[in-house]
């Protein structure tokens, strides 16, 4: 048996290219998959740690007027018997530039057992509470501080900046979230130089029936956890990785099929020598597993490396998009490694099952005919056509089902739809090409060489089919993703321009707000002021407006943001609206009069709102009912939002004053204004932001958001190109053999080479051309289904001719590059050698 196995494997000694191709397929498939899984696992670990932190899961209190709470507020509430605990939060800069979150806690009043848990054993409390205090942090935060794990306990690392600041001695606590330092509130106050101020008061969930006078109470239940928020993001990543895995497995199956076909003679000999059919299948399976383990291990190692490369971008994206802190270093649980191995092996067995099945069912005599299984290719084409049609029908059914779902639902179904679209197209590709070749063959009936070329291509099709399918999938995915990203980019930049109409945005200190507003209003540099306000409310009822049926009311308890803008000459013409009840002008008129509100697209999609519906919101003075006059796009927001005119928000929702947009007069001088504010009110710097700066930051966030998507889609394309190259290389030798007779018949070598390049370039062109509509459909699915479910907003579909041309060029380029190597070999091989090969 051992000998039989060695004999089977000896095939790869003679064909190292096939072995390389097999391993390459396994490697890339498993690398991309494990890379993405590593990122997801690491992020989930971060979320779990963030959710375990005592700052989550607690109700929080802030002052209604937006001023910071102080120690005096805390003591006053404690003396009134309220179980509140002060929390100080701020950021400091580590020596390497990382922003670290400092959380100062008061362990005696912090609700729950976690007060003591967070400080470790009770005996450590004294050290925690008294100078020099303690800094508690997770081990993966150490690198930012430039401290090694070994020297960490007790170390007092220096901080960035001019001030000679040091952290209290370090104590490791792996349960803390990354980049978070927890210390006693006295130590944090000294470090952050926050004096008597605190960030907020916290209390155990529902300990307070209502907010104390002048305060806003935010229930823990209304704070969405980062894990929930980012779920769709990770699903997106997983889908991309799955795509890469599938493409990789296409390569594997192609290589396996080839390796089996070339070994049919060998298999027959082995059977003839007494190896049982079952034993032979067992040996082949063993070979698969062996290859699988090697490929998967290599893949997992590279996957982790890939994840390390991508992780900082992922962390940045999650941080800016959802405010979720994710470690920039990987943190992998043991089951991650097993999972990666299992998925790759499972995929491999799936890809190899067809081969095993065929090997088990071919008769001993049948084995004698080389190319035996290719004989069934026509049957196979038919099967592919039927299967492709079935998958397409399934996709259609899914699409129909989705169209009856409320918008924003069905993220998984959306991915299913896109998967079905890709799979159906891939399955239908070989029958389509076969049909095309047959048709073309009739057209060129009088040109023997062209006819031969088409017939020859038909002969090659079984081997090329899988690589072509992989290429089709990768090209369409790439085109779809880049169309979506590109379209989003255009929409987003446009939207930024429409929303950011003021030249400066000023966030005045609350106590100076009125003075500054008055001063600005007088300033000759200023054309218009756009004050904003922001608050929270609960949406308790929706009264749907429907002309054709009775009005119906739905009760709910949804926390929403309420945001106030100033409808004036500057803002009204530019603020984007997606839908209105009776035109823009009417909508703005009702809005300015305080009769109506606008809602953002997220809220409209999630609750099925349309202009004309009426919302009932909780407000400090009771409930407020507003009519929805319009829906506006709100990219990048994760929460539902209701928009009101600022004065309305102030009077009806008691919202504290927020930032002020400053529109400069036609020849107003921004520098003079900045200087005036600095001299008169001693503000500037952080409080006053240039509009261009806001746009720069927003664009930066956007770019990061899609860095990973782009990187993964480019990698998938590279894998597909490799698949095609590998398939061509694997059969290059045999191809030469088939070309020899043509040469002998007098066809010049240059001509032969051109034919070859035309064959491949032509088929790649067909694949590329098919990828164009498919990619566009894919982009449509992404913007109209996936994005709505994942982010809450819909995008218009944009077509990018340049991207399409690039897709086509990539397809042909990849094919030509893949064909060039065998062609060059052909050029160098003396014709006699070709004939000799043919003879063997």
């Amino acid at each position: 048996m051992l000998t039989a196995f060695a004999t089977l494997l000896s095939h790869y000694k003679r064909h190292p290219g096939q072995l390389a191709m097999l391993l390459l397929g396994l490697w890339v498939a498993s690398a991309l998959w494990s890379g993405v899984q590593a990122i997801n696992a690491s992020a989930r670990d971060s979320y779990a740690r963030a959710e375990a932190l005592f700052t989550t899961g607690l109700d929080r209190l802030e002052r209604r007027d937006g001023e910071p709470l102080t120690r005096e507020d805390y003591l006053r509430l404690r003396r009134a018997g309220l179980p509140v605990s002060p929390l100080l939060e701020g950021t400091i800069e580590a020596p390497d530039g990382t922003r670290l979150t400092v959380i100062g806690i008061e362990p005696f009043t912090l609700p729950g057992d976690n007060a003591f848990a967070s400080a470790g054993s009770t005996s450590e409390l004294t050290a925690f509470l008294t100078p020099p205090w303690q800094t508690r942090l997770a081990p993966d935060t150490l690198s930012a501080l430039g401290v090694s794990h070994r020297e960490a306990p007790g170390a007092e690392p220096r901080l960035a900046g001019l001030v000679e600041a040091r952290l209290p001695p370090l104590t490791l606590d792996p349960a803390l979230p990354p980049d978070t330092l927890v210390m006693d509130i006295a130590a944090a106050a000294a470090l952050l130089d926050s004096g008597e101020r605190i960030a907020r008061l916290v209390t155990s969930p529902n300990a307070l029936a209502q907010a104390p006078e002048g305060m806003v109470l935010t229930r823990a239940a209304t704070l969405v956890s980062p894990g929930q928020l980012t779920e769709s993001f990770h699903l997106n990543l997983s889908a991309m990785a799955l795509l890469a895995l599938v493409v990789g497995l296409f390569i594997v199956q192609a290589a396996l099929g080839l390796a089996l076909e070339q070994r049919l003679g060998l298999l027959r000999t082995l059977r003839a020598l007494g190896v049982s059919g079952r034993g032979l299948v067992g040996l082949l399976a063993l070979e698969l597993v062996l290859l699988g383990v090697v490929g998967a291990l290599a893949g997992i190692v590279s996957g982790v490396w890939l994840a390390r490369m991508l992780q900082p971008d992922v962390a940045a994206t999650l941080g800016s998009l959802y405010g979720a802190d994710v470690a920039v270093t990987l943190n992998l649980p043991w089951h991650y490694w097993l999972g990666g191995l299992a998925v790759t092996l499972g995929g491999l067995l799936l890809a190899g099952s067809g081969v095993l099945w065929r090997a088990a069912h071919l008769s001993v005599l049948g084995l004698g005919q080389a190319q035996a299984w290719r004989a069934g290719f026509h049957r196979q084409l038919k099967l592919m056509g039927v299967a492709g049609g079935a998958v397409a029908l399934g996709g259609l059914a899914l699409w129909l089902w989705l169209s009856y779902q409320p918008p924003g639902e069905g993220l998984l179904a959306g991915f299913g739809l896109i998967g079905a679209l890709l799979l159906a197209s891939a399955l239908l590709l070989p029958p389509l090409i076969a049909l095309l070749l047959a048709g073309l063959g009739r057209l060129v009936a009088h040109r023997p060489l062209a006819q031969w070329a088409l017939a020859d291509l038909q002969l090659q099709l079984p081997r090329l089919a899988l690589a072509m399918m992989a290429l089709l999938i990768a090209l369409s995915a790439n085109l779809g993703v880049s169309s979506m990203v590109g379209g989003f980019r255009l929409t987003f930049l446009d939207w930024l321009d429409q929303r950011l109409v003021a030249d400066f945005y000023l966030r005045p200190p609350a106590e100076q707000h009125d003075d500054i507003h008055a001063w600005l209003a007088e300033s000759t540099e200023v054309d218009e002021l756009l004050p904003t306000r922001r608050s929270e409310a609960t949406l308790v009822a929706i009264q749907y407006y429907a002309e054709e049926r009775d009005e119906q009311t739905r009760e709910l308890a949804l926390p929403v943001g309420v945001y106030g803008i100033t409808p004036g000459a500057t803002l009204m013409p530019s603020w984007p609206l997606l839908a209105t009840q009776a035109g823009r002008d009417d909508a703005w008129q009702a809005f300015a009069a305080g009769e109506a509100a606008f809602v953002n697209e997220q809220l409209a999609l999630a609750e099925g709102l349309a202009p004309g519906d009426r919302l009932t919101l909780t407000a400090p003075g009771g409930e407020e009912t507003l009519t929805v006059a319009a829906v506006y796009p709100d990219y990048g927001n994760t929460q539902g939002e209701v928009l009101l005119a600022t004065p309305q928000l102030a009077s009806r929702f008691a919202a504290p004053p927020g930032s002020i947009g400053i529109v400069l007069a036609p020849n107003g001088d921004g520098t003079a204004l900045r200087e005036g504010l600095r001299q008169r009110f001693a503000i500037g710097g952080d409080e006053l932001v240039d509009q261009r700066e806001v746009k720069r930051i927003a664009t930066g966030i956007f770019e990061r958001t899609f860095t990973i998507t782009r990187a993964l889609s480019a990698l998938t394309l590279a894998v597909a190109a490799l698949a095609l190259l590998a398939s061509l290389l694997a059969q290059a030798r045999e191809r030469r053999r088939q070309l020899a007779p043509l040469w002998a018949l007098g066809v010049p070598r240059a001509r032969l080479m051109t034919i070859q390049l035309a064959q491949l370039g032509g088929s790649a062109f067909v694949v590329g051309a098919l990828a164009l509509p498919l990619g566009t459909l894919l982009a449509l699915g992404l913007v109209a289904v996936i994005n709505v479910a994942a982010f809450g907003w819909r995008l218009p579909l944009f077509i990018f001719p340049a991207e399409m041309a690039l897709t086509l060029a990539t397809a042909v380029g990849v094919a030509l590059a893949a064909a060039a190597l065998p062609a060059a070999k052909l050029w160098r091989t003396p014709p006699r050698a070709l004939l000799a090969e043919e003879a063997t």
């Binding site: 404690r78 003396r79 009134a80 005696f108 009043t109 005996s123 509470l129 509130i185 006295a186």
Partner: protein
């Protein structure tokens, strides 16, 4: 007196359990660390003369201190009811001596004192307990917890024991209000009480220095055992008018116990004759390793007589289970010098204080050992069981 018990809790929480990997010390000294050496803290000793009202306030230069009130009350239906309110102070570090004439404001949130408070309301089988913690700085008298002398006020959050005397130059300690409330899932419990002193302060031991072990450790210790108590008590959401007698202990020290002492049994009794009796035994640390006993016999006029260790005899007669532990709830207490031979018994065993450091504290009834005649009532505190 008894106060120690709770005290320990404080200690236990913060010092005691002190065995971390880095400092594998030293087995814990005494119960709940109350036997730790005084170090740089001031030390209680016989030559100290107590001064009032100053000594009603906190003594941050001593490590530990408490204000400890118990009361035996009756509600409007005539049902007996007991309550406890205790404020413990624990110094985190020896306060720095401010330069003369200067009192620098401490940094925000900086703390050199930790505070712990317990309250309990007990009636029949009901026994409700609450606990609070706070930090403060000895230079800052407006913190979350503290104790000041003039006018007297001891507080943590909204729990407070404060003077209601308004006349200038009067003794602000003579009339106090006690208020503490806690919400729970049974409707909440708490009290608002008016305390009126009907007798003088009583200094224990040698003019206020109370020795706690044979080798001389001790504390400064005085009591106000003559409170008349009127007010309202809420239990399980029901508020009732109550009246009765209260006993307030004040004690501070830097090393209360000898290192071998592991727990104590502490009695404070109001006798029908108008006499009061305080008696305790510290288990371990007496002559030759026996128990160390001490006490004070107080006349109705408030004249104290210190009782020497050999003038007190106390022995458990029966135990009962409380919160899963065997606790002696029936005692024989004999003070020949006062002509007392008492059976002291807790009518309800379930008075376990399930606080961060647990102990037993509950009402007791004293009766004559021979005739069985009821002679008085009071409180018993037992630790280390």
């Amino acid at each position: 007196m008894k106060r120690v018990a709770a005290l320990l809790s404080l200690l236990v929480v913060f010092w005691l359990s002190g065995c971390t990997e880095e400092s594998p010390p030293t087995e814990t000294a005494g119960f709940a660390g109350l036997g730790e050496e005084a170090g740089d803290f001031a030390q209680a000793h016989e030559e100290i003369t107590l001064r009032f009202p100053e000594d009603h306030a906190a003594h941050p230069d001593y490590r530990i201190e408490w204000w400890y009130l118990t009361a035996n009350l009756e509600d409007e239906r005539g049902e007996p009811l007991g309550l406890q309110w205790t404020l413990f102070r624990q110094a985190l570090s020896v306060p720095e001596e401010p330069p003369p004439g200067e009192r620098p404001k401490p940094a925000p949130w900086a703390a050199d004192q930790l505070w712990m408070a317990h309250m309990a309301v007990s009636q029949g089988d009901s026994h409700r307990v609450a606990e609070r913690f706070a930090r403060s700085h000895s230079q800052d008298e407006s913190g979350q917890a503290g104790a000041v002398a003039e006018p007297f006020r001891a507080w943590i959050d909204h729990w407070q024991l404060a003077s209601r005397v308004e006349e200038p130059d009067a003794d602000t300690f003579a009339e106090l209000n006690l208020s503490a409330h806690q919400s729970d899932d049974q409707g909440g419990f708490g009290y608002d009480l008016a305390l009126t002193a009907e007798g003088p302060l009583v200094l224990h031991g040698a003019a206020g220095f109370s020795q706690k072990s044979a080798d001389g450790q001790g504390s400064m210790y005085y009591s106000q055992p003559f409170w008349r108590v009127e007010g309202e008590v809420t239990l399980d959401g029901i508020t009732r008018k109550v009246s009765g007698r209260g006993w307030l202990d004040r004690e501070w020290s830097s090393q209360l116990l000898g290192p071998e002492q592991r727990g104590w049994d502490w009695f404070s009794l109001h006798l029908e004759s108008g006499h009061k009796l305080m008696a305790f035994q510290l288990r371990g640390g007496g002559e030759g390793g026996g128990d160390y006993r001490s006490g004070t016999w107080i006349t109705p006029e408030g004249e104290p007589t210190a009782l020497a260790p050999d003038e007190i005899d106390m022995a458990p007669l029966a135990t009962q289970e409380a919160a899963g532990r065997e606790v002696p709830t029936r005692w024989r207490l004999t003070i020949p010098r006062a002509g007392l031979d008492l059976i002291v018994e807790a009518p309800h065993a379930e008075r376990w204080m399930d606080t961060s450091v647990p102990y037993w504290e509950g009402e007791v009834i004293a009766s004559d050992a021979e005739t069985g005649e009821r002679l008085g009532e009071g409180y018993l505190e037992m630790t280390g069981y």
